[in-house]
């Protein structure tokens, strides 16, 4: 398989506000790609365009060599799953049933034994088995986020789109979730990929194969964490003075050994 995702010259605007300009992205199998940028840079918009929650103005988005606009929503959801920043629930359900919704694209009406077992194994893999029959709206923000990630994993799609999946998680759970994701993406038999919008530069540096740095709606830099997370790039995009420490001691066993320490904001340039 050559590419999971191929985006060419993507543009999106809200009225006169051009949120995304000429975005070009390729993602190969077993790649975990992080999208970084300030608030309003277009990270969430990019994910929503891929998932057809938003309709792009121009450009093409191909998923497994098929135009996403030519796919039915059911077929699209078999290929791509999405974790929103937050889920506002009107009517709560058991955690098991929430994760079971990930199997919805594969189910006509009746739930098979395979679907149930897929949900059970996903709950166990994310350490959620004790929550299986608790109400979703009675969980903490972080627990809910893990449940929605479990739903996306149970969907068994080729591409995982995640919008700040660790924003509500404590430090331990951030690491556990990212390690689980890294394991799923690195599995050569499954050929899955992930595109994750994230604010934590160090999480991105540790777990991502590549980083897209969005700035003013454009891709400002793209490449490995070491190529993208430079002092100058961070100063330009985030307006902060950062120290880059390239030392494997900080992240033993990690896919990259970079660490960014933010020192202070840059008030004038």
């Amino acid at each position: 398989m050559s590419k999971i995702l191929e985006i060419k010259d993507l543009n999106f605007s809200w009225g006169n506000n051009h949120v995304l300009r000429d975005i070009n992205v390729n993602i190969s199998p077993n790649e975990l790609v992080a999208v970084l940028g300030v608030n309003g840079a277009g990270k969430s918009t990019l994910l929503k365009c891929i998932n057809r929650i938003l309709k792009s103005d121009s450009g093409s988005i191909n998923l497994l060599e098929e135009d996403v606009n030519g796919l039915s929503l059911i077929d699209l959801s078999k290929k791509v799953s999405y974790v929103p920043q937050s889920v506002r629930t009107s009517f709560s359900m058991d955690v098991f049933d929430v994760v079971l919704l990930g199997r919805r694209p594969h189910i006509s009406w009746r739930i098979s034994e395979e679907d149930r077992d897929k949900v059970s194994s996903t709950l166990r893999s994310l350490g959620l088995e004790d929550f299986s029959f608790r109400k979703f709206d009675q969980l903490s923000g972080g627990e809910r986020q893990r449940v929605i990630i479990a739903k996306a994993i149970a969907q068994d799609s080729s591409l995982l789109l995640m919008d700040e999946p660790t924003s509500d998680l404590d430090l331990k759970n951030q690491l556990e979730i990212m390690k689980s994701l890294r394991k799923i993406i690195s599995n050569k038999d499954a050929e899955k990929s992930a595109l994750i919008a994230i604010h934590d530069i160090n999480i991105a540096a540790r777990f991502a194969d590549r980083i897209l740095l969005l700035h003013n709606g454009k891709i400002f830099a793209s490449g490995t964490p070491r190529e993208v997370l430079t002092k100058d790039n961070i100063a330009e995009v985030f307006s902060v003075d950062a120290e880059i420490i390239d030392n494997a001691v900080f992240w033993p066993g990690g896919s990259d050994s970079l660490r960014v320490i933010v020192k202070d904001e840059i008030t004038s340039k």
Partner: protein, 347 residues
């Protein structure tokens, strides 16, 4: 099979047993209702014997059982089920626990149609016996038409549907009030009686036709239960990520709900509370999974309506209190008790 999967199956089976218990309870209540009434020559035992064919009935007994009580009880079962199902569907697809079948303005449209027939003598049919029903049905269908047109606008949100429904309710209410202002005492009385809601209006044939129509529509409601689960749990973005088109799904479900409501209300008058309360009472029993919530709401709607009507015609017999009033009087406090006991409609 995994132990978590087994627990999920056990939970589902338990909930299905609860629904079947409700079905049994409704059936028993229906038998009781058939034998209950103010007729002095038709006690419970005699009625049961006649129904089971163990005793021959005279013409009066036969008329009371098959032309008065049976259509009324069937209408309570079918009408209650339809309004409760419509309420559950609408709450789910609009993501709002405050929504009921009356929210979209369908009932107000029906009331306007009835007012045209009663006050102005205007009807789309010449047969005066069904003039009010025909008008109520037509005007409620006009509201369904407005909902369809709204659904064709891609950007219409759940909140917009509700706001338009409230606007329709106000407009129709204002026109009805204007007609009431100029109406005679007799017309006012007739209009007030229509608005109370009664299960005695449809004839046996009409009730059978309504039953066939409503039973035919139920599989469609069940077909969309997965889509409703996604929409009601997490809203539009979440639904899209599971392969559900929120606009199309919402439009289809609202049209079905509005149609279910208009078919019942045109014949019975305003019966509103069951469409709000029965789905929430059912949520307390089977949760918010629409695969179980739809049948449970339907059964609970039947049970609640039948109970209210039976009480309404036996409590102060021979005076009959309309079912719409009884539903609110007995259902309201019971509904509040259940919600307060469980501290919220979502639990």
């Amino acid at each position: 099979m995994d132990s978590i999967s087994e627990k999920h199956i056990e939970n589902s089976k338990f909930q299905i047993i609860l629904i079947l218990l409700l079905v049994s309870l409704t059936f028993l209540l229906a038998i009781f209702a058939m034998g209950s009434g103010s007729s002095s020559n038709l006690d419970m035992l005699t009625t049961l014997k006649i129904i089971l064919g163990l005793e021959n009935s005279n013409d009066l007994q036969s008329a009371i059982i098959w032309e008065l009580r049976f259509p009324r009880i069937l209408m309570a079962i079918v009408g209650g089920a339809a309004l409760a199902t419509a309420g559950a569907l609408m709450q789910g697809c609009l993501g709002n626990p405050l929504v009921s079948p009356l929210t979209l303005g369908v009932a107000s449209g029906a009331a306007l149609g009835a007012a045209f027939a009663i006050v102005l003598g205007f009807s789309i049919v010449s047969n005066s016996e069904i003039a009010i029903v025909a008008n109520a049905f037509l005007f409620s269908l006009i509201v369904v038409g407005i909902i369809i047109q709204l659904g064709n606008m891609r950007s219409i949100s759940a909140e917009s549907y509700i706001l338009v429904g409230i606007a329709i309710t106000f407009i129709a209410g204002a026109i009805v009030s204007t007609m009431q202002y100029f109406a005679t005492d007799a017309q006012l009385s007739q209009l007030a009686h229509w608005s109370f809601g009664s299960l005695s209006r449809p004839t046996l044939i009409q009730t059978l036709w309504i039953s066939v129509a409503l039973i035919g529509l139920m599989p469609s409601a069940m077909k969309w239960s997965w889509d409703l689960n996604a929409l009601s749990l997490g809203g539009d973005d979440f639904a899209i990520s599971t392969g559900v088109d929120p606009s199309t799904t919402r439009k289809r479900i609202l049209i079905l709900s509005a149609f279910l409501t208009s078919v019942v209300i045109a014949f019975t008058g305003l019966i509103g509370f069951v469409g709000l309360a029965a789905p929430h009472m059912s949520r307390l029993i089977v949760g918010n999974d629409y695969r179980k919530l739809i049948p449970c709401s339907a059964v609970f709607g039947s049970l609640l309506t039948l109970f209210a009507d039976t009480l309404g015609r036996t409590l102060f017999a021979p005076i009959i209190i309309p079912v719409g009033i009884m539903l609110s009087i007995i259902g309201g406090p019971f509904f509040m008790y259940l919600l307060l006991k469980n501290r919220g409609v979502n639990s």
